[in-house]
Amino acid sequence: MRHIISILMENEAGALSRVAGLFSARGYNIESLTVAPTEDESLSRMTLVTTGTDEVIEQITKQLNKLIDVVKLMDMHEGPHIEREMMLIKVRAAGATREEVKRLADIFRGRIIDVSDTIYTIEVTGTSEKLDAFVGAITQTDIIEVVRSGVTGIARGERALHV
């Protein structure tokens, strides 16, 4: 199953490579990985999407917890949560397709953030599935470039990951 794991770690040199190294050394999947400092400069927050059986996910969380730089982590799937990913997509939009692309962007609540005679650049935010669906809806040959941020997530309600 797919899991989103959020990690608070010391904002130290090499912290990211410890996580990446752990995944490659132990043969775990990483579907996406995002990292940035938090409001507390000494901490970074990493969001990692991985897949595996329950046993594998249990090992992953245990092994992550063993990393000395990891302060705390949370498997988002232990409770209700919100996941978001942002995509910037550059699409050929000339002639007849121009209107069609605009309409699709509207349907997906995307925003056109850059325009030229023949091109729209659109920002779409949502779950990974929604972004997949948007990419699927655009004619493949019209897609020039896709940039995705990787998934981030946050628990609903009182549940929170903080020190």
């Binding site: 040199a13 912290a15 490579s17 000494s42 090992q59 990891v70 302060v71 020190v163």
Partner: protein, 585 residues
């Protein structure tokens, strides 16, 4: 992605008490910190990047530096020191090749969870990343085989980083920690504060097992009809041998040790069925296979122990005590997990057990022991005692007798290692020193140096083969320099025996590169290094030679035993087989 290096801040620990303030160089801070930490020996080898540190070492007399002949040996020696004392081993090497040479020893310590702090010199901070002379990314290279590592970029962080390094190395599940010190950091000055205690918000090892789980475990143990205690190196690392011994005797249950756990419970005690696993005893492996309650303590269900995991302990409920939660249910699903320090958990278990009204099922135990004695009667370690050739097993049995079972024994890797584990009966912990997890040939001799340095009055034997000993043979020179009276027991079968055994069994006798041609004359070699050499070729000479060698209290004696080239290690669980599918002699 933002550059998280930009936020290189030493945050996340709290200094609770400070020592007095003095301005010192980084190199002096290094020395002072080790002294404050209670370190007495550093095993190392100098080079450009650590010259400031060696200069500081030269000008003091509280720390003793042991000069090895290869950095791999420095790490193994520190490791042997740590395994035989329970105190952390300390290593100092230079940047680049010094650091890479140390990697094998770091990985060896990592696999066996040995507390060790390795200081590597680094090129000056301004040159890091420039492919400078003797630069390697030591932190990057060692990352997968350390518990943690640090690059110290500011001399003001040095003392606290050293404190953290020892804290991390020694607590929780121990392991090696690398501290990379650039040359300019060693030369720069700062005030010296060595924190007495330290806490890190990102690292807080468990200090107690969960009482409810402990109670549950005891209840399950007491209902067992066919119980089995399976204990590993974790018991020795936790210094919990006395608690384990008391618990085992109180329960009256059979016990087996892993290769790493030998000595945690007396080998000569009748409840001890010997080692389990690939070359374990028939009774231990059969006991495992047929048990209904498995009590695993400080052991990690390694593949050399379990054999085919699908066939492992098919009828057992499993209790597992371990300091490392990641070891629990990693390979084998556990019914009663207990995360905690083994000594603490065993103390609690003893308390609960003593208070419990329930007692082990006596009738069931009687039947179980009857079955075990039948397995034991197979005498799975038997060998040809009438051979005209020296049997390696005979050398080890005689070694045991001649040393009264009291020696510290280190080993290299191969058949000789397995025979040593089978035939030298360890009644005490910390005396059997071998590379179990990584299986590092070359470990034995330098590890023995570390043991002898830590225990100058004790008898230290290194059991090796003519293959392994040549991987760190240069250390005979170190032994001479420091007057280490080791006894090297070279079981010379003229081949890489363990490799040859596998080729015989599984590759139809195609002995690819498992022979040893052009062996040195070990007697002359020992003499060239300033030691005593002996060659023993006949079984009847084995005992007198051992007696003579062990009588030479102040000399290193290299004993070259020419043993039966065809002898194999039995019993054996072949790859893919279950513990009940052993090959017997």
């Amino acid at each position: 992605m933002p550059d998280i290096r930009a936020f290189f801040l030493v945050i996340g620990f709290a200094v609770t008490r400070e020592t007095k303030q003095v301005e010192l160089t980084g190199a002096e801070i290094f020395v002072r910190s080790l002294v404050e930490q209670g370190i007495d020996y550093v095993f190392g080898y100098p080079g450009g990047a650590v010259l400031p540190i060696y200069d500081a070492l030269y000008q003091q007399d509280e720390l003793e530096h042991v000069l090895v002949r290869h950095e791999q040996a420095a790490t193994h020696a520190a490791d042997g020191y740590a395994r035989s004392t329970g105190r952390p081993g300390v290593v100092l090497v230079t940047s680049g090749p010094g650091a890479t040479n140390a990697v094998t020893g770091i990985a060896t310590a990592y696999m066996d969870s040995i507390p060790m702090v390795v200081f590597t010199g680094q090129v000056p901070t301004a040159l890091i990343g420039n492919d400078a002379f003797q630069e390697v990314d030591s932190v990057g290279i060692t990352r997968p085989c350390v518990k943690h590592n640090f690059l110290v970029k500011d001399v003001n962080d040095l003392a606290v980083t050293i404190r953290k390094a020892f804290y991390v190395a020694m607590t929780g599940r121990p392991g090696p920690v690398v501290v990379d010190i650039p040359k300019d950091v060693a030369a720069a000055r700062a005030e010296f504060h060595y924190p007495k205690r330290i806490s890190m918000r990102s690292y807080s090892p468990v200090t107690k097992g969960h009482p409810r789980q402990i109670k549950k475990a005891i209840d399950l143990m007491l209902t067992a009809k066919r119980p089995m205690l399976y204990t590993g190196g974790g018991v020795i690392l936790a210094n919990a041998s006395s608690q384990l011994t008391e618990l085992t005797k109180l329960l009256g249950y059979p016990l087996t040790n892993t290769l790493m756990g030998l000595g945690a419970f007396p080998a000569t005690h009748k409840q001890n069925l010997g080692m389990l696993g690939m070359h374990g005893t028939y009774e231990a492996n059969m006991g495992m296979h047929h048990c209904d309650v498995l009590i695993a303590i400080g052991a990690r269900f390694d593949d050399r122990v379990t054999g085919n995991i699908d066939k492992f302990c098919p009828t057992a409920s499993v209790i597992h005590v371990d300091i490392d939660p990641a070891s629990i249910s990693k390979n084998v699903k556990v019914d009663v997990p207990i995360v905690g320090p083994v000594d603490q958990v065993l103390k609690e278990m003893l308390k609960v057990l003593k208070e419990s009204k329930q007692k082990p099922d006596a009738a069931a135990q009687k039947a179980w022991w009857k079955q075990i004695e039948e397995w034991r009667a197979m005498d799975c370690l038997k060998y040809d005692r009438d051979s005209e050739l020296i049997k390696p097993q005979y050398v080890l049995e005689t070694l045991y007798d001649v040393t009264g079972g009291k020696a510290f024994v280190t080993s290299d890797v191969g058949q000789h290692q397995m025979w040593a584990a089978q035939f030298y009966k360890f009644d005490k912990p910390n005396r059997w020193i071998n590379s179990g997890g990584l299986g590092t040939m070359g470990f034995g001799l330098p590890a023995a140096m570390g043991v002898q340095i830590a225990h100058p009055k004790e008898t230290v034997a290194c059991i090796t083969g003519e293959g392994s000993i040549q991987m760190c043979i240069q250390e005979l020179s170190t032994c001479k320099q420091y007057g280490l009276p080791l006894k090297v027991i070279n079981l010379n079968n003229g081949c890489l025996g363990m490799v040859r055994q596998w080729q015989q069994f599984f590759y139809d006798g195609r002995y690819a590169m498992s022979y040893m041609e052009s062996l040195p004359d070990f007697v002359k070699l020992a003499e060239a290094y300033g030691h005593v050499g002996m060659q023993i070729t006949k079984p009847e000479d084995v005992e007198p030679a051992l007696k003579e060698a062990f009588g030479m209290k102040d000399r290193l004696v290299f004993m070259d035993f020419l043993t039966d080239k065809k002898e194999n290690v039995y019993p054996m669980i072949p790859a893919g087989a279950g513990q009940n599918e052993m090959i017997l002699v």
